[in-house]
């Protein structure tokens, strides 16, 4: 365990800078530049986690973002702890603390490991099949399943880190800074294009940066020294922005991309301070160049998941980049030349490679010759049939493949090892390309999907486009770039490229074994424990669509989204079902490419910045007077003003009584206000409201009801005629923006001939509403010059006047049924006018009231609230408001719909009043209304829409919608509640002052 497997210096490791970190409670050391994975491997630790279903021991498998197994819980602290972090990506820092997931009590001894022995009884779909019945038991099962499911733990306290969003606009975005991306970025930038180059890793150069071998040369330099010069050069280009540790998460239409930039995750906690942790980049690029590279494929054979089994390319990267040997007795298993590159790299580092098992029988290339020269034993035409070693691989068994690759023949050989590198060839990373809507095509000769049809101005280059060898890349890219970027020349023509890589490959999706197939465990999806057997079972059970097989077996549904195994799943399906890979298609690649934190997604939009909130000009007064607030749309409205520890109910009762007995004052500034001008303004109102407007005299107000074209009530409010061609319309608070939008729509598209101008003035005015029998005395005190007599200033009229020097519009309109005035002043004067009214009203006990009291008062009068008593299925007739629908008008929005066969039905739900048998019992809003409790099934007649205890009537009152309610006056109905039933009587919805005497009191 304590062995040190650090070999000759790795390229990116600073050996002078030792870093200590903790893993599963123990302290280890690594060097600056290490990833958690490389540091663990240097300490000879492979076992880092347990698999999801069988709890099999799992080790580090890759060296990149495609890692399925080595996912860890980071940080101990309950606000910063983060699950499913890939050990292969996280860079170590002093004090890093990581632990294994999905195991209990520890990764070395995991109780859940019993699932591995039960695995014959846990096939694909086990949970679906087993917990289906009896259905009533699900709730019991669920508890245990939920407990055992899930990877890692989420934080339980708010995230202390800062995240942000940033927009970037560029001419060219290059994704991936490997050799292809660097060439593309330099070419674009040197031709004057504003270019952004991003890469998920902390360094540039991709895998070329450590390709330091005689076998890969450009202009007679090793490819790594060649790329290093290129990197130095691009860093100096002004119009090229380079972002490392930046992973593109999503590629949407119109070249809109989202990327996560990691800013502080590699720093010790104490150095992060208040710096932004991660940034979500919202990139809009004119052109996108994908140079996302390729992912090495594993090979699918029995027990291919043990700790110590890695991708061959990962072993090479750990050796070259980090100076870490993954084992002391290494074996490579391959079907192509890549493993030989690894072998040669290891050899140069002094790391022992004993044997290479190659699926191919007849092979010959410079790389193979060199391996042979170095005394590596090569088994040609062989395959691994099994492995052993529970927590670390210790042996492999190999056998010869038959000519057709379907069987194994001959005798079995066993070889000991402590590390096995596998290489199944390469899969182009086309994830982002397909996210953008791109269509793939299947290339039969090496069994890969490559980009085919581009949906936007973008291109894929290099190995993500299926060009896997250095010579292909350097030959093709300059040509493609010149055309795509429309430039005359690049720096990359006539390069002298030398590559020893031979492209031959023997692709067998599922390698044969000497065991019967049913006894093998050949993992396709490592994280979710989906095996080749599960996939074949799904096909036997009748699943055909790749999307269905995926969901049934959970292949590709882990946090890694099956980056390694999805191709093999497809291959096994196509072989078993005898269909062609190209025709089978792939499962859908969805964003994000690698998981994003919620913090990154929400950015700064947290806490008080979650949404905009709007305050009235009088808001501060409400705060000072201890109002409770309620959200109405984006507005904060005073809800009620509790005094001396009053409950909401007590406050509302007091406020409601005061408003009827003496005087109340309400901040009505949030009501929508639309200024309407133009020679056709009257005609326009005629068309949008149900009632007639042409004859409304200047200086008069009128209540209007607005419908949708389907006849349903949309909004309501009072509109005042200020002048011949000038009106001010009020709308509901929540409906203001939509009403304006709807009116503009009609004006611009249906009635462009009308001379009408609309301006939203909601925020320009503050509105103070004073109501109650003493309202006239109060308002006339602050406006002594105005004649407040009913003759001069009757109900439903308006006056232009002044409060001191402040110009104001004052309307005598009422939403409470009381004598009342609405004073509109320029917003800046709102608070001072409010305070003047409070001052003047002192002797009348003027009582500020909030929205709750307003709702109660209007319910006493049976006035509707659009959106509370209506729900887009109510016509004015349903609301018993026939009086407001003009019979004479030729047309208005929604008129024709009021006599459709459906809207004239007698048994529609209609608004009625409801009185409880027990006057103290207050109904719950939303409660169902029925007639017969013994009926089965019980017919739901409607529901309660508004309900209050009225202090003025000293009884409970409610409004509700009831099927056929209009003709049920006096009828008894039932409100069934959880543990009681409440008897109610259908009543007139107007409970108080039906004759409207109070308006002129």
């Amino acid at each position: 365990m304590t062995k040190n497997l650090r070999v000759k210096s790795g390229r990116f490791i600073d050996e002078t800078y030792r870093v200590s970190f903790r893993f599963n409670g123990k302290t280890f050391y690594g060097f600056k530049g290490d990833t958690l994975a490389s540091a663990l491997l240097a300490n000879n630790i492979h076992l880092v986690g347990r698999s999801f279903k069988y709890h099999r021991p799992r080790g580090i498998m890759t060296a990149g973002s495609e890692e399925p197994n080595a996912i860890v819980q980071l940080h101990k602290n309950s606000s910063r702890t983060e699950p499913n972090v890939r050990a292969t990506e996280i860079e170590i820092y002093e004090g890093l603390e990581a632990s294994s997931q999905n195991c209990w009590p520890s990764v070395n001894f995991d109780i859940g490991g019993i699932n591995n022995f039960l695995s014959p009884f846990l096939p694909a779909g086990f949970y679906y099949k087993t917990f289906m019945w009896p259905a009533s038991f699900w709730e019991k099962y669920e508890y245990f399943i939920r407990k055992s499911a899930g990877l890692g733990k989420s934080p339980t306290e708010p995230d202390p880190d800062i995240y942000e969003h940033k927009y970037i606009h560029c001419d060219v975005l290059v994704i991936g800074a490997g050799i292809s991306g660097i060439i593309a970025a330099k070419t674009a930038a040197k031709n004057g294009l504003k270019t952004l180059l991003v890469d998920e890793k902390p360094y540039l150069g991709g895998s070329t940066i450590y390709q330091n071998s005689e076998h890969f040369k450009i202009n007679n330099q090793t490819s790594s020294s060649w790329i290093e010069k290129e990197i130095n050069e691009i860093k100096r280009i002004k119009n090229l922005e380079i972002k490392t540790r930046t992973s593109v998460a999503a590629f949407h239409g119109y070249n809109y991309l989202l990327a996560r930039e990691n800013l502080t995750d590699h720093l010790p906690l104490e150095q992060r301070n208040d710096n932004t942790r991660q940034r979500l980049l919202k990139i809009r690029a004119k052109k996108v160049i994908s140079a996302t590279g390729a992912l090495e494929r594993p090979l699918i054979f029995d027990n291919n998941d043990r700790p110590g089994i890695l991708l061959s390319s990962a072993i090479e990267k750990y050796a070259n980049l980090f100076g870490v040997a993954c084992g002391e007795k290494n074996i490579l298993f391959t079907n192509n030349d890549s493993a030989y590159e690894t072998a040669i790299s290891l050899f140069k580092k002094g790391i022992n490679v004993e044997t290479i098992i190659d699926n191919r029988e007849e092979i010959d290339s410079k790389l193979i010759k060199e391996a042979e020269k170095n005394n590596i034993k090569i088994y040609k035409g062989y395959t691994v049939v099994n492995t052993s070693g529970y927590k670390r691989i210790n042996k492999i068994s190999i056998m010869q493949l038959s000519k057709d690759g379907q069987k194994v023949v001959g005798s079995k050989k066993t070889i000991t090892c402590d590390c096995l590198g596998v290489s199944g060839g390469w899969t182009p990373a086309v994830h982002l390309f397909t996210q953008s809507g791109g269509k793939l095509k299947f290339r039969d000769e090496d069994q890969v999907f490559i980009p085919n049809i581009y949906p936007s101005d973008q291109i894929s280059i290099g190995s993500c486009n299926g060009d896997f060898t250095l010579d292909e890349i350097l030959l093709n890219i300059p040509k493609v770039l010149k055309e795509f970027l429309n430039v005359k020349k690049t720096d990359y023509e006539n390069l002298e490229v030398h590559s020893s890589f031979n492209k031959s490959k023997r692709n067998i999706w599922l390698l044969p074994s000497d065991k019967i197939f049913g006894k093998t465990k050949s993992f396709v999806d490592y994280q979710n424990d989906a095996t080749a057997k599960d996939i074949k079972l799904a096909l036997r059970e009748g699943f055909r669509s790749i999307e269905h097989v995926k969901r049934y077996t959970t292949t590709g549904m882990g946090t890694d989204q099956g980056k390694l195994g999805n191709m093999h799943a497809l291959g096994i399906i196509s072989e078993t079902a005898n269909s062609k890979m190209g025709e089978l298609g792939t499962t859908t690649f969805r964003p994000p490419y690698t998981p994003l934190t919620f913090g990154t997604i929400v950015g700064r939009n947290v806490g008080e910045y979650f949404d905009v909130f709007r305050k009235t000009p009088i808001h501060e007064w409400h705060v000072q007077n201890k109002a409770e607030f309620e959200n109405v749309g984006q507005w904060k409205r005073a809800w009620y003003y509790p005094k001396d520890g009053e409950s909401m109910h007590e406050a509302v009762q007091r406020e409601s009584k005061a408003a009827r007995d003496s005087a109340g004052i309400l901040d009505a500034s949030t009501l929508g206000k639309i200024d309407i001008q133009g020679t056709d303004a009257s005609e326009f109102l005629n068309r949008v409201y149900t009632n007639a407007w042409s004859k409304l005299a200047i200086g008069k107000c009128r209540y209007g009801l607005m419908l949708n074209e389907d006849g349903m009530v949309y909004d309501d409010g009072v509109t005042t005629r200020l002048d011949e061609n000038h009106y001010i319309m009020t709308t509901t608070t929540g409906g203001a923006a939509n009403v304006l939008g709807k009116l503009e729509d009609y004006l611009q598209t249906e009635w462009p001939e009308l001379d009408v101008y609309l301006t939203s003035v909601t925020d320009h005015y503050a509105t103070v509403s004073v109501c109650g029998p003493n309202s006239k005395k109060i308002v006339s005190q602050i406006i002594p010059d105005l004649d407040f007599s009913d003759e001069n200033f009757p109900h439903m009229s308006f006056k232009n006047t002044k409060i001191g020097k402040i110009k104001c519009r004052i309307m005598r309109i009422s939403f409470t049924g009381e004598h009342s005035y609405e004073i509109n002043v320029q917003a800046n004067f709102g608070k001072s006018v409010w305070e003047k009214c409070i001052e003047a009203g002192k002797e009348f006990n003027i009582t500020p009231y909030g929205t709750e009291t307003m709702h109660l008062l209007r319910a006493e009068k049976g006035f509707i609230i659009v959106g509370q008593d209506t729900d887009a299925t109510m016509t004015p007739i349903d609301l018993q408001m026939e009086w407001i629908v003009s019979k004479k008008k030729y047309d208005f929005i929604g008129k024709r719909s009021l006599y459709r066969s459906d809207t004239i039905k007698e048994d529609r739900k209609q608004l009625v009043g409801l009185l409880t048998e027990n006057p103290d019992e207050v109904l719950e809003e939303g409660a169902q209304i029925i007639a017969d409790i013994n009926q089965t099934p019980i017919e739901m007649l409607g529901h309660v829409t508004s309900s209050y205890y009225s202090p003025n009537l000293k009884k409970s009152i409610a409004l509700g919608v009831v099927r056929g309610g209009k003709n049920m006056m006096g009828q008894k109905l039932i409100i069934p509640m959880e543990n009681k039933k409440i008897n109610v009587t259908v009543a007139d919805p107007i409970f108080l002052d039906k004759e409207n005497k109070r308006l002129n009191a």
Binding site: G253, Y256, Q748, T749, Y890, R896, R900
Partner: protein, 91 residues
């Protein structure tokens, strides 16, 4: 997220706009003279084409002007944009 070329303001992000459904449906001049079926045809029936669709958009968080768009719903390519009242492109 599209980039939409508002005929009054120029290219803007889609988030500034709102879609308003099918275009070129003219509100009947005399709705009261229509049968229930005819009125329902105007009121409810909308095309939902995979392919070329004519639709209305409004620059809500901009000039607040309505305009028409021809969009291929299968790949979201915007084929044409023209002002209200202008004739739709024939090709």
């Amino acid at each position: 997220m599209f980039v939409i070329n508002c005929p009054y303001c120029g290219e803007r992000e889609q988030s500034e706009f709102k879609a308003g459904g099918e275009a070129h449906l003219v509100r009947p001049k005399q709705p009261t003279e229509l049968s229930d079926d005819e009125w329902a045809e105007y009121l409810f029936m909308r095309k939902n084409i995979k392919g070329i669709q004519f639709e209305r958009w409004v620059h809500t968080h901009g000039c607040r002007k309505w305009f028409n768009m021809v969009r291929d719903t299968s790949n979201d390519k915007i084929k044409a944009i023209y002002k209200m009242g202008e004739k739709p492109p024939t090709k």
